[in-house]
Symmetry: C2
Subunit: 134 residues, 2 copies
DNA sequence: GTGCCTACTTTCCAATGGAGAGTGACCGTC
DNA sequence: GACGGTCACTCTCCATTGGAAAGTAGGCAC
């Protein structure tokens, strides 16, 4: 988190950044992590702290139970969340971000604020595009 | 890009951030933009500047033509890229980021460096998880 | 007993994504 | 003048993914 490597953008024609092995791995990680539900869950866990299964689903909104379980499991496997099972009846399972998860949430924070500040521009662009083409 | 709103994370129990209408719109935008191919294309266009159709495909790697056209069209509609058709034979179409696209690329830059710096931690977490469960 | 609670799991079906072939428009070669 | 090549798609077929809804487990209240 300290010692951020030099920017990876804004230098066209300057050659690749690193060896292709790392490149491929990074792409694989991006593929896993840059998914709608992962981002949304990351956000609610960052905002609400330790949260129960169904509550996460409510806060995310519009997610099916299948995808909720699946995404949470994936995130647990990648070390982004910790799953705590309280052996009570009825069952109680809580999820919270690990340090790693938190750093990722911070990284995504920029995208979030970008989305907030640029919604109008996107909608304008869409309207212009749709108006032009049809 | 100026006047970044206060951080949206790290304050559990502090109540929601804004009105739910904006919340929903932001989620919709995130859903569109936080997609594997969009991120990857954004990255190559940020790094390589104006680029031709097939070249983008090569640089992204592993993307089908269908998804390439589809994602580029979507990005064009959202005002992230500009599509320039040179009326020559054989056809030549170039794509480049708009200012808006560039700001998004910058926002994603944090995720990129996060992925680079944390690959080892993710792999370790996965190994631990898989070892525990099987 | 019958329900109810929660966190899943399973089943079924519709939508998405990938592989690969086809298309159009023209040019250069034979 | 038929033939192949180039490039940016577009179309078709099929496997995988994702959503909706029902089922499961296991004990507790009635």
């Amino acid at each position: 988190m300290t010692a951020v490597p030099p920017a990876r953008i804004s230098h066209p024609e300057t050659g690749e950044v690193a060896d292709p092995r790392v490149e491929a791995l990074v792409n694989e990680v991006i593929g896993r992590v840059a998914d709608k539900w992962t981002m949304l869950i990351l956000e609610v866990l960052a905002e609400h702290g330790e949260t129960r299964f169904t509550r996460v689903g409510e806060l995310v909104g519009g997610i099916s139970q299948k995808m909720l379980t699946q995404t949470l499991r994936q995130m647990e496997r990648d070390g982004l969340v910790v799953r705590t099972v309280h052996p009570v009846i009825p069952p109680k399972v809580e999820y919270r971000l690990t340090d790693l998860g938190f750093t990722l949430a911070e990284a995504f924070c920029g995208v979030w604020t970008w989305a907030e500040t640029n919604i109008d521009r996107i909608e304008a662009a869409r309207a212009a595009f749709d108006g032009r083409k049809r």
